[in-house]
Structure formats: C-alpha cells, structure tokens
C-alpha cells in the first residue's frame, strides 16, 4: 500500500486499468504500478530522442 501511494504514476495506472476492464486488489495494483514505473523510466529515453518531424514509423503492414 505504501509503495502504491508513493508512486506518482499510480493514478494513471488505476484509471488505465479501469478503462481496459481489469479488476485487481490493492497489492496487485501496487505491483502493476511498480512495473509501469519501470516502463515509464525506459520510455523517457525514447520520448526524449530527437527525430525529424517527418520521420515515419517502422513499417509493418504490407497490403
């Protein structure tokens, strides 16, 4: 509970879990929020990486 309350991303995680249809107890929410924090820390590297405005995503779909 303490970890969950101290995690600034926990409100986002709670909202996103509800949006996606998950129902978890408090311990599970805390664990998921901790995992999400790790992802967020890694995502910063990606989000801060400078890219030209017009750079495209790696293609996946091939009609």
């Amino acid at each position: 509970m303490t970890e969950s309350r101290d995690n600034p991303l926990e409100p986002y995680v709670r909202s996103a879990l509800a949006l996606q249809g998950y129902v978890f107890d408090e311990a599970e929410v805390a664990e998921i929020a901790a995992q999400f924090s790790r992802l967020e820390a890694i995502a910063r590297t990606v989000l801060d990486w400078p890219l030209p405005f017009a750079s495209e995503s790696a293609p996946v779909f091939r009609p």
Partner: protein, 464 residues
Amino acid sequence: VIGSAADIAQQIAKGAISAAAVLERCKALIEAKDPDLNCFTAKTFERAEREAAAIDGMYAEGKALPPLAGVPYAVKNLFDVEGMVTLAGAKINAGNAPAASDATIVARMSRAGAILVGALNMEELAYGFLTENYHYGITRNPRDRTRGAGGSSGGSAAAVGAGMLPITLGSDTSGSIRVPASLCGVFGLKPTYGRLSRSGTYPFVNSFDHVGPFANSVLGLALAYDAMQGPDPDDPACAQRPIEPAGMSLSLSRGVRIGILGGWFHEWADPAARRSVQLAAAALGATEWTELKSAEVARAAAYIVTGAEGGALHRPRLIERYDDFGPSARSRLVAGSLIPASWVTQAQRVRQSAYREAMNLFERFDLLIAAAAPAVAPRVGQETLLINGRSIPTKAGLGVLTQPISCIGLPVCTVPVWPDEGDSPAERALPVGVQLIGAPWREDVCLAAARTLEQARVAEVRPP
C-alpha cells in the same frame, strides 16, 4: 554426445548407419541427460520412429535422401506440432486444442528429412531471458548445473550444449536465441526479420518475433536454415523472397570489412565478454572500432513496443485468468497493456531511425561484431548482474546487447567463444557468445564468418 548434423546425414546416406539407429542413440542420450537439465516438456518418439523408418525405407529403395535425412531435432514448445498442445511455456495454454498441423518451418524440416524428437522448455510466453519457468521448471545450464540456460529458448540451447541433439529450433524477439546460445556455448542463428516464416508459432511481439536454429556446428546451422527458407503468405511479415542458400559456400570473401561495435556494446560487456570479442576480432582480422549510437534508444524502443504488443495480445486472458499466469510475467504484461499509443508510435519511429543509422554503417562494413551477452551464465536465481561496476537486474540485463539488434531486424549468427576469464575456475570454464551481425538478408556473411571462427577453433561447441 551426438555428432553434427552433416556427419549424421552423411553416414546415413552412405549406409554406414540407419536413421533408426541414430534415433535410438539420441533417445538414450535424452533419457540419460535430460532429468538433470529439464530441457524437454514433451517427447515425440513415436513420430520420430515413423519418420526414421521412412528415411530408412527411402535408403532401402535407393532413393536420393534429403539434406537432413535422419538428423534428430526438437523445437521450443511454441512451435505447432501436429497433435500436440502448443504450450509456449504457459499453463494458460495447457487446455488448448492440439495443433491441427505442423508450423511451416517444422513441416519444412520434416521435408528435409529431419526427425522430430520433442518439444523444449522455454520462459513463459517467451517473456524473459531466463528459463526459470514457474509452471514447467528451470532449465539448467549443461556447462554448470548451478547456472541457468538463459532464455527464452533455454531448452533449445541446453539440449544442443548437452550433446543430446545436433539441431534445435527456437525464437528470438529480443535475444531469445542469442542469449541462451551464448550462455550454453552453442551456435545460434537469428535470421533477418521476415526471412523465416512464423506461421504456426505462438506469437509474442509481432514487430520483433523471429525464428531460427541452434546447432553444434556451423554447417548444421546452415543446413537447417536453408531447409526452412522460403516465402509463406500465411505470415504477413515473411518476406516473399526466393530461397538464398547459405550452406553451399561457407567461405568468407577476401576483403570483407568488419567493424567491432564499441560504445554501448563495449560498456555493457564485462571482461569475459570483452575477451570473447577480442578473440573473435583477432581471428577475423578485425581491428576497426565503430559505434551504433542509437543502440541504447533502440533497446528502449524495443522495450516499449514489446510491453505494448505483448500486453495487448494477452489482455483478454489477463482479465479472465490472471492467477493462471506466472508471477514473473503477469504484472509486466498488464503494465505493458497500459502503455499509451503515443509512446509506441514514437518507439516505432525510433526503430526506423536506428535502422537507417545501421544502414549507414553497412556502407562502411560488411559485418559488425559484439558480445551476445554481457557476462557468462548467471547462477539460477541470481537477481542482478554486475557489469563493469554497474548493477542491472539479471532478467532484463542479459538482453542488453541483443535487444538493439533485433529491434532493427538484422541477421545475427551467435558463436560460442571461450574467454577463459573470471574469478574462479568454474567461471573461467564458461563461454560468452559473440554476435556476428550482417546487413539485412546477408545471413550468408554471418554464417561464413562463423565458419571461419569454427575452423580457427576460436568458436566451438565443447563437450559438456
């Protein structure tokens, strides 16, 4: 230990031994060695006996034998095998219906004459670089039973490293062929993204999922790779390219330009891993260092896309059956399913940018080399790796050198090198693999460099 694929096929083609006799020898090795290692989750000996009898029948009738005639192999348990449930290391799949047919590349191995003997343990849902499977047990390292085999294709690497099989198949999303190949001291090939069909394999991250072989020799690796090539409209990512055989000529061209990857790849390699790279570079005559500056961000991008795609794939069952997932996978998968779309889009843009940087490097080099793992195999249950004074969680850290490369889909042959570095005799006896990284669709260059190292005895699969 079992011989190489080429030797087995040659002996059978000459009539020196029957496919049935090879199979009996292989079964005895599996029964003797597997209880200590836990590589196999299922054995397909009845099917193997039928396939071996068919090869012996062809020989008796004087027919030409296919290239892998009578060569036993097994597959990571995320490949569909007709009549078997495809587990992908997960209890949630145990109640699924058996596969109606073989995965495309399993069917191609059968057409090439190979004999399927079973399915192999893996990390649950391929999400992790260990094979400490909550449901199906730990796969141990054949070089040291106190250490793990790595993952997620741990059973596939350990079965070859233990000398049970000359060839196995695995998959690699972020390093799941290259990391266990490194830790278990065997050859592994992660081909170019889209080269081999994934049809009939249990997915994890469509953007990065690759399949490929492990082997105890470079020629065996090439024979399996060649047997599995070819277009397949059932896999939307599979390139509709003709077969480009690599096994016919495994000699490295004169004047091949080789770059040693520094920067991220040097920083995250401990002394043993650096020594492996040094030995491989010296044997290949490589002296020039270079850098893939986007390695760190490519790794981060792979993390984000992996979390999002893996989480989205499993979301319905995470809602319904959370407790049936292992504790290591479930909270990570749910967290991944909450990743905002803008992060994923940015990660895919980074991926394209990193790919372009790599293509610029390949104007100067034909091959890049780097360690395949930051260190030797960690002990089972070891929670952190200490790399040049920096601590990193084992579960994520083992893939620190492979993830940037699979993010951009380059072909890599991992070769087993024996650096003789470490604090104890036990550590000094362990391998660290080296990644031989080619430009897209140049698996032939990777395999030729691997063969050069094998011939120089710098890279070799040692007896366990």
